[in-house]
């Protein structure tokens, strides 16, 4: 995986590149937007880590101008991270946000999550820790050993894997698993989650599927 880090604080960029290398990302650094343009012209990147305040311009403006050309997913680094700022960023085409100061693990986790998103760049195999899922073949494994899952359980696992490390709301699960006309009993989702959790427990991965009561579920992204 090759990442472009667009950040004017060179020491920060160097530290980030060093830390990401440990997570298996190779990264190039661009201290300005024009350097970023050059780098993008010269090589193909899987993702961009973009600081929003750069010496030769605003990161969001640059992104809006570049969006016409196809860009890899963008993880924005920001000092503020207010709601209005995040909304503006998402409108401009930012895929995810991280507020400074951040831990290197967090950057790596967000990048992995971006690369898992569906679309032309989607990996055919999703994984989080020892759990992996071959999306096309509908086959799930834990440390190589196959899991025997029903169709709905596989769908749920795919949903959770795509957003591993983040909360997936119960509503989103209901919408994804059931068509509009089918009758959903209030605790249908809970039942599937608890069956999937049991399968994972039996396969030896315990305590990775968390319930955030009243909100949704989270599959840990252990590395």
């Amino acid at each position: 995986m090759r990442i472009l880090i667009v950040e004017d604080a060179t020491r920060l960029a160097a530290l980030l590149a060093e830390a990401l290398a440990k997570h298996g990302f190779a990264s190039d650094r661009a201290p300005t937007l024009s350097a970023a343009n050059d780098a993008l012209a010269a090589a193909a990147y899987d993702a961009i880590v973009l600081d929003l305040g750069l010496p030769d311009g605003d990161g969001l403006e640059w992104l809006k101008r570049r969006r016409s050309a196809s860009l890899p997913p963008v993880l924005a680094l920001t000092a503020r991270g207010t709601l209005t700022e995040r909304v503006a960023g998402l409108d401009a085409g930012v895929d995810d946000y991280l507020t400074k100061p951040f831990a290197a693990d967090e950057v790596a986790a967000r990048l992995r999550a971006l690369l898992r998103r569906p679309g032309p760049r989607a990996a055919p195999i999703l994984s989080a820790g020892p759990i992996s899922l071959d999306v096309a073949a509908r086959r799930a494994t834990v440390s190589g050993a196959a899991l025997d899952l029903s169709r709905r359980e596989l769908d749920l696992l795919e949903l959770l894997l795509r957003r591993a490390g983040a909360v997936v709301s119960k509503d989103a699960i209901e919408t994804a698993l059931y068509s509009f006309d089918s009758e959903v009993t209030p605790n249908a989702v809970e039942a599937i989650v608890s069956r999937l959790r049991k399968h994972l427990d039996e396969a030896g991965v315990q305590g990775v599927l968390h319930t955030i009561r009243g909100v949704g579920y989270l599959l840990e992204d252990r590395t």
């Binding site: 100061p101 951040f102 831990a103 490390g165 909360v167 009243g214």
Partner: protein, 339 residues
């Protein structure tokens, strides 16, 4: 009418002119009768003549002058009243850039309106400058903090862990100071209220904080006691709730759960599994204002002062129930339901 009212002064002036004029006229006419007549009139005849031909028409004239004067004064001052209504209405909907339309005002009031407009422009600029300062300061402070924490990540051992916690605390403090600056800028700019769904705010916040909480072996949960919406500033309400949840996570032992409860009514509560803050302690912490020189042992520090400030701005209150280990944000319904 009070002597400070423009209309009052005009009316007084017109009245004086009319009364003085009437007396002068009366005097002149009386003189004419006495000097200019061939056979002198008796005092009785003189009084009758004057009353018939002078006093009666004068009273009618003065009556008409009074009515016309009142109408002229009222219509002359109407643009001022209307301008005040317009400005009030504009200030309620537009956050900034409210100006008086001085073309609609009488020429005499235009310099005053223009001066007020210049003042409003300066206030807007000051609010913007403060926000820009907060943004710049955030950027300037956060980048070195990030570098520091990334450097520390590379170090093994207990000392590095302690330093990492210090950096985290420092960064929290920077966040809160910047939040205060932003809130001040917003209230200076009269950011408008919007319809808020507390469930939405709570679940968004929980989704954002859950990954971090789970990493430190604490969980989050949400409960809804009756659906409700109220008017408020979304960002400020989120910031208040976030401060409470973060405090609660620090106070809760490992394996514990922090629960956010929405309702009943326009309120949000946060329940932790820590020792609980007494109402007296909450009042004390809320009062401390913007002072960073105290490290509170509960880790609540500046946070609660910010929360209290947000609540005051919303016409609500922060209250504590030590027994139920809950801190509650009550948003004023009266204030809240007004558009």
């Amino acid at each position: 009418m009070s002597p400070r009212s423009l209309g009052g002064r005009l009316a007084l002036g017109l009245g004086l002119v009319a009364v003085l004029g009437a007396f002068v006229l009366l005097g002149l006419v009386a003189l004419e009768y006495v000097v200019g007549s061939d056979e002198p009139l008796t005092a009785m005849q003189l009084a009758h003549e004057v009353a018939d031909h002078v006093v009666a028409p004068l009273i009618i004239l003065l009556g008409l002058v009074a009515v016309a004067g009142a109408m002229v004064i009222r219509s002359g001052l109407r643009p001022l009243t209307q301008a005040a209504i317009d400005v009030d209405r504009a200030a309620q909907t537009a956050p900034r850039g409210v100006r008086i339309d001085h073309n609609a005002l009488p020429a005499e009031a235009q310099p005053f309106a223009a001066a007020v407009n210049r003042l409003l422009a300066r206030l807007d600029a000051a609010a913007e400058a403060q926000e820009a300062f907060a943004a710049d300061a955030a950027h300037e402070l956060k980048t070195p903090l990030t570098i520091l924490s990334l450097e520390l990540e590379k170090l093994p051992g207990e000392v590095a862990k302690g330093l990492k916690d210090d950096v985290a605390a420092l960064s929290r403090l920077v966040d809160q100071l910047l939040l205060l600056a932003r809130l001040d800028a917003q209230s200076a700019a009269e950011t408008p209220r919007e319809l808020i769904d507390p469930k939405n705010i709570a679940t968004d916040l929980i989704s954002a904080l859950a990954p971090i909480a789970l990493k430190s072996s604490r969980n989050l949960a949400f409960e809804e006691v009756g659906e409700t919406t109220f008017l408020g500033r979304r960002e400020a309400v989120t910031a208040a709730l976030r401060n409470l949840v973060e405090n609660a996570l620090r106070a809760t032992p490992e394996g514990g759960t922090v629960t956010v409860i929405a309702g009943p009514g326009p309120r949000l509560a946060v329940r932790d599994e820590g020792p609980g803050l007494s109402p007296e302690r909450v009042a004390e912490l809320s009062k401390r204002g913007v002072r960073a020189d105290h490290a509170s042992p509960s880790g609540a520090g500046l946070g609660l002062a910010i929360v209290a400030r947000i609540m005051t701005a919303h016409g609500g209150a922060l209250s504590a129930d030590a027994q139920r280990r809950e801190l509650t944000l009550d948003f004023n319904t009266l204030e809240g339901t007004r558009p």
